[in-house]
């Protein structure tokens, strides 16, 4: 990816983005849906949009998903 497209992607904002508080409030539900292979993005598009745009929340989601998958095995 060159600087142009990386900057373009960074500056894009999605009006469906629910923000950190709402995304974190439902993160456990969202993570279980993803871990179960359910269409979490369709059920919670605002959370999906947020997790794509917010590095720290995306990192928390990745950690919780790893924990959920680890607990299941």
């Amino acid at each position: 990816m060159n600087g142009w497209s990386a900057l373009d992607r960074f500056l894009r904002t999605d009006p469906r983005d629910v923000g950190c508080d709402q995304a974190m409030e439902m993160l456990h539900v969202y993570a279980e849906l993803v871990a179960a292979g359910e269409p979490a993005e369709e059920r919670y598009p605002g959370i999906a949009a947020h997790l794509q745009a917010c590095g720290p929340c995306g990192e928390d989601f990745a950690g919780l998903l790893a924990a959920v998958r680890g607990e299941a095995h």
Binding site: G3, A6, L7, L11, R12, A31
Partner: protein
């Protein structure tokens, strides 16, 4: 279980952090202990929408996140307000060999940062984008919340993109994103 999850999470994040060894282990134990306090305090809020363990794990992950943010906050090298605009293209992986191509774009971005953003938006943009300070560390510095800082950045990103689109540097969007 909380300690096991915390240790797994610091191990997962560890390679990207400048923390290692016993310090990382301490961080995991502290995160597990603080998560237990959070879980105990919020247990009445558990609504059964997920397994209890998933809900509980969430607080461990949050505590690991917060402790890592605090770690960098204490780091003496962290400066929110340093401004080295030469670093801006590198933050977005711009190839120095194609400077002629992207030089105008980043010059326009800098002008937009100066003309479009409020002082608070500018300060937070400079800290996160130019100085590469983790958002959670900026939260600690400013005594704010992750959501508040994210919303400031969200609005800053929207304004900057609109300015670059208006000046013809970036294309208009077809879908709902702006």
């Amino acid at each position: 279980m909380l300690v096991r999850i915390a240790r797994a999470e610091v191990a997962r994040r560890g390679p990207r952090l400048r923390i290692a060894g016993p310090e990382l282990d301490d961080l995991a134990y502290q995160a597990a202990a603080d998560a237990l306090v959070a879980i105990t305090g919020k247990i009445g809020q558990f609504r059964g929408e997920s397994r209890f363990t998933t809900w509980a794990c969430k607080f461990v992950i949050f505590e690991v996140s917060a402790k890592i943010g605090r770690h960098f906050w204490r780091h003496p090298a962290v400066r929110l307000d340093a401004e080295d605009w030469e670093r801006l293209p590198g933050r977005f992986g711009a190839d120095p060999a194609h400077q002629a191509e992207w030089g105008d774009l980043f010059a326009a971005l800098r002008r937009a940062v100066d003309s479009e953003l409020t002082p608070r938006q500018r300060k937070i943009f400079v800290a996160i984008v130019l100085n590469d300070i983790p958002l959670d560390t900026v939260v600690m510095h400013l005594g704010s919340s992750r959501n508040a800082i994210y919303q400031v950045m969200f609005e800053a990103r929207r304004k900057l993109r609109a300015a670059l689109v208006a000046d013809g540097y970036l294309g208009h969007d077809i879908a709902g994103c702006s």
